[in-house]
């Protein structure tokens, strides 16, 4: 890259910043403000009736709860997968690496249908699980599974580059100084990976909260039991109740934003606390 004396190292900052703002404005900000504008046609009383009815509250609890559990599962197993991919060589590694991304590429409805087929009473997994008296499809457990499936790549793909940046010498140095493997993990590796892991968790969580396609098949959609919040939004739309639909969506969005902000702050805090290495 040719760089003459200028204020910034990279060229075209003004243009790129302008483009970034217009792009974000057109693609994210405008649609979201449109969403909130629709809600304003409701009075406060109508708004509260809509977003605080027992059925909607139950759906929120389920959507956020299942998304949280799924993101947690992904944080644990995603870290493991990323670790294995970075630190070990084994036959078929490229294949495993490619497999991780597949949930990104698959249309979520297809994922949902496939999972339901597997876990329902006569499916490959389902028939054995039900023989043990454990029903997965059409219960909240099924919802968590669907959300775990779609969230996995987020954790693996955010943690993987960070792990790659940590030199094996660091671990070896710790080991030669007499640290046990567990100490190496908790004192050396985990602090470096923590911020990335948190952001992977956040992405998986955010994705799962609004997920509709993959869940609607496996959940069974029973009111108060397995009805997710996005389904309630769809039922509003089926009644041509646009304002009601956007009200529920707006509350979800606000709650998600608050949660994401909290996790982001937490991430910054861990970053400072553990003094991240270069590359994180």
């Amino acid at each position: 890259m040719h760089s003459r004396a200028r204020r910034r190292v990279l060229p075209g900052f003004g243009l790129t910043l302008g483009l970034s703002w217009s792009y974000l404005g057109l693609i994210v900000l405008l649609p979201l403000s449109g969403l909130f504008l629709k809600t304003f046609s409701l009075s406060w009383a109508q708004f509260f009736d809509t977003v605080a009815s027992p059925r909607v509250l139950a759906a929120y609890r389920l959507s956020f709860g299942a998304a949280f559990l799924a993101a947690l599962l992904n944080a644990v197993f995603g870290l493991l997968v990323a670790w294995v991919l970075v630190r070990y060589r084994f036959p078929g590694k490229a294949l495993v690496d490619a497999l991780v991304d597949l949930p990104f590429a698959l249309p979520t409805a297809v994922a949902g249908l496939t999972l339901t087929t597997l876990y329902s009473r006569n499916g490959w997994y389902g028939q054995h699980l039900e023989a043990l008296g454990f029903q997965v499809a059409f219960t909240p457990v099924g919802i968590v599974i669907a959300l775990t499936f779609i969230g996995l790549p987020f954790v693996v793909r955010t943690v993987q580059p960070v792990l790659e940046d940590i030199d094996a010498d660091v671990e070896e140095a710790a080991a030669t100084l007499g640290a046990t493997p567990w100490q190496v993990f908790t004192r050396v590796l985990f602090p470096s990976v923590m911020p990335a892991l948190l952001s992977g968790f956040t992405l998986a969580f955010a994705r799962a909260i609004g997920e509709y396609g993959s869940v609607v098949f496996i959940s069974g959609n029973m009111p108060m039991k397995t009805e997710i919040a996005p389904l309630l939004i769809i039922t509003r739309l089926e009644q041509y109740d646009y304002a009601g639909a956007t009200a529920i969506a707006g509350v979800m969005l606000a709650a998600s934003f608050a949660l994401l902000l909290t996790v982001n702050l937490l991430q910054r805090w861990t970053h400072r606390r553990f003094e991240a290495r270069p590359g994180t």
Partner: protein, 349 residues
């Protein structure tokens, strides 16, 4: 001063934008001149895909022979309510052929795209073919299901989609409602009890009719599927004659999927003549034959007589008889806080 790479990037972005503009503007081209091909868009619901593929080919051929101009009919399928919302939001439909009159009513109420009396413009309530609601059971009918009454029995598991999200499910619900009303001599309290009992036997609420069919046929869930007659035929003929059989209840609902011209769109595009002819074609002997072949009940007496063996006789009531039309039915039963919510939510706790 801009660097060459920035200029190149700007140029690339600009050309990308410019190339997108004609594509965006292309669909609002005004009326086709003589000899130019005409394109119609039929926005329909899911189970009519195969029917309209046949109807469109046949009508386009007839049109071309008569007028000498090429006619292309495009199809769009999806959930009935979703399709109506797309048209309201600006999908350029020339005609809509949906599952419920309520969805077409909304083209007037929410979009001002059609006049309020649209259903009077074509014969038979603007529905060229009808259908009804029947049961599909496993081969040999192990639970001995004969009529609506049997769906309430303990140990019988019933598959029907969610009336809040599926037009087909609303027909199912109203069919059961109508049966219960008739049986109790018009006692609504008894009818509500009947529906409550029925839905106690429903283990899963799929969001659409096809989803429910899949749950029943592929997942092996449930003893009986409540379904459109044409879907039931499709299931028994295509998935397995040796696996399922159709049970026709003593009484059911006359399902009338309506069709309508979207005035605002055809006038803007100059396609009114072709779109009108297309809808009228559905009522011709040829159109009726095709409907019958795809297991929709024809309106034409002669065609109906010809295919009588395909369609078992059922005593049918209309939606007006059980509920005074779709708007009232929607409000009373399916809107939030309506009878479906009341009957279903409390028992789920």
């Amino acid at each position: 001063m801009k660097s060459p790479s920035t200029r190149k990037l700007t140029a690339a972005l600009l050309s990308l934008l410019l190339s997108a503009v004609p594509a965006l503007g292309g669909c609002s081209k005004p009326g086709a001149a003589q000899g130019e091909p005409i394109t119609l868009l039929n926005v329909s619901y899911d189970p009519t895909r195969e029917l309209y593929t046949d109807l469109n080919a046949a009508f386009a051929k007839q049109w071309e022979a008569k007028h000498g101009t090429k006619l292309v009919i495009k199809q769009s399928h999806g959930g009935s309510g979703k399709q109506a919302r797309a048209v309201i939001d600006g999908l350029d439909a020339d005609v809509v052929t949906l599952a419920l009159a309520y969805d077409i009513d909304m083209l007037h109420d929410k979009g001002q795209l059609i006049p309020p009396d649209w259903q009077k413009r074509l014969p038979s309530n603007s529905s060229p073919y009808t259908s009804t609601i029947v049961f599909v059971v496993h081969k040999g009918n192990p639970k001995a299901i004969r009529d609506w009454e049997d769906l309430l029995r303990e140990g019988v598991s019933v598959i029907t989609p969610n009336p809040k999200t599926s037009g087909g499910a609303r027909w199912n619900y109203l069919a059961a409602w109508g049966y219960a009303l008739r049986k109790s001599g018009g006692d609504e309290a008894k009818a509500r009890e009947f529906i409550g009992q029925l839905f106690k036997n429903v283990p899963v609420l799929d969001s659409g009719a096809r989803g429910a069919t899949t749950t029943f046929a592929e997942r092996g869930l449930g003893d009986v599927l409540i379904a459109w007659e044409n879907e039931a035929f499709l299931l028994t003929e295509e998935v397995g004659k040796d696996k399922f059989e159709i049970i026709v209840p003593s009484v059911s609902i006359l399902a009338e999927p309506p069709v309508a011209l979207v005035d605002r769109n055809v006038d803007r595009k100059g396609t009114r003549a072709a779109a009108e002819a297309y809808l009228q074609y559905l009522y011709t002997e040829e159109g009726q034959e095709l409907a019958a072949k795809h297991h929709f009940r024809p309106r034409s007496q002669t065609v109906a007589a010809k295919y009588a063996s395909r369609f078992p006789t059922v005593s049918l009531f209309t939606i007006d008889e059980v509920s005074g039309g779709w708007k009232q039915a929607q409000k009373k039963h399916f809107d939030d806080g309506g009878s479906f919510d009341q009957l279903y939510v409390p028992q789920a706790k």
